[in-house]
């Protein structure tokens, strides 16, 4: 199934932007979980569950983004370049980010069988997906120079800078609970 209908192309761009926002939120909540932050009066599992829900929403929107990219003939994204980073330029960067996220989701699904240390190592490596995602979004150039894409990029970068700084300043936290 393929199409060159403009609504599909708009949906691809919109879901890409929204999944970047959700990904940023999920990463921020993940770092908040590491820092043992929780909303006033709530238990830590509230932060953890919101982190997971935001990540699942990001994956859902990302799935729509990928599917619409594949079926849109103007996008020219093949199935191979969805899985392997063999597409041109920024498309390959996006594929690499997608692969990292897929590794994150799959290892989280089988976390009980992996052991906490291995799962955590893969989970942290997957944080590399975020710079790849934002580079892909800005580099593709479809909405380059628009005020709203600039606003989204600035908001995402500022949020990540803030939470990473917060994480670094907080120092190591106890992880033997293994409930992140």
């Amino acid at each position: 199934m393929s199409t060159n209908a403009l609504p599909v192309w708009y949906l691809m761009r919109a879901t890409g932007v929204v999944s970047l926002l959700l990904l940023t939120l999920a990463f921020a909540l993940g770092i908040a979980t590491s820092n043992r932050w929780r909303p006033t009066g709530s238990r830590l599992y509230v932060t953890t569950t919101l982190h997971r829900n935001a990540a699942l929403l990001a994956v859902a929107f990302l799935a729509v983004h990928v599917v619409t990219a594949v079926i849109d003939v103007d996008a020219g994204v093949g199935l191979v370049s969805v899985i392997f980073p063999v597409g041109p330029g920024w498309l390959a960067v996006g594929t690499l980010g997608l692969d990292l996220l897929a590794a994150l989701v799959l290892t989280s699904l089988v976390r009980r069988h992996l052991g906490y240390r291995l799962w955590r190592a893969i989970h942290w490596a997957a944080y590399g997906a975020w710079p790849l995602a934002i580079a892909h979004g800005l580099g593709m150039g479809s909405d380059d120079g628009t005020w709203w894409l600039d606003a989204v990029a600035i908001a995402c970068i500022a949020t990540m800078a803030a939470v990473v700084t917060w994480r670094v300043l907080a120092g190591p936290t106890e992880t033997h609970g293994a409930r992140a």
Binding site: T3, N4, A5, L6, P7, W9, Y10, L11, M12, R13, A14, T15, V17, V18, L21, L22, L25, P39, G41, S42, R43, Y45, V46, T49, L50, N53, A54, L57, F61, A69, D74, A75, G76, V77, G87, P88, G89, W90, L91, M140, G141, S142, D143, D144, T146, W148
Partner: protein, 84 residues
């Protein structure tokens, strides 16, 4: 300490409420960004300003639309006469 802590049911409700708002916000944002993308495409649909032409499908601007509205590529069948 446990006196001012919310109950587990309160926490579950809080998670549900925030998740619903997150979903609603994401769907609304998708609509809004789609509209902005459409407006941007419409405003920049002249061939000279970076929007991909039909003949440049292998360059780095893959995710740009054709400048024209989608069109059907087939032609109406023509009746053929003849045969034995």
């Amino acid at each position: 300490m446990a006196g001012h802590r919310r109950s587990r049911a309160d926490d579950d409700n809080r998670i549900r409420t925030v998740t619903r708002w997150l979903l609603a916000g994401s769907l609304a944002a998708t609509g809004a960004v789609g509209g902005l993308a459409a407006a941007h495409t419409h405003a920049s649909s002249s061939p000279s300003n970076g929007v991909r032409s039909e003949s440049s499908s292998d360059d780095n601007s893959l995710l740009s639309p054709s400048a024209s509205a989608p069109q059907q590529s087939f032609e109406a069948p023509v009746a053929q006469s003849g045969g034995s």
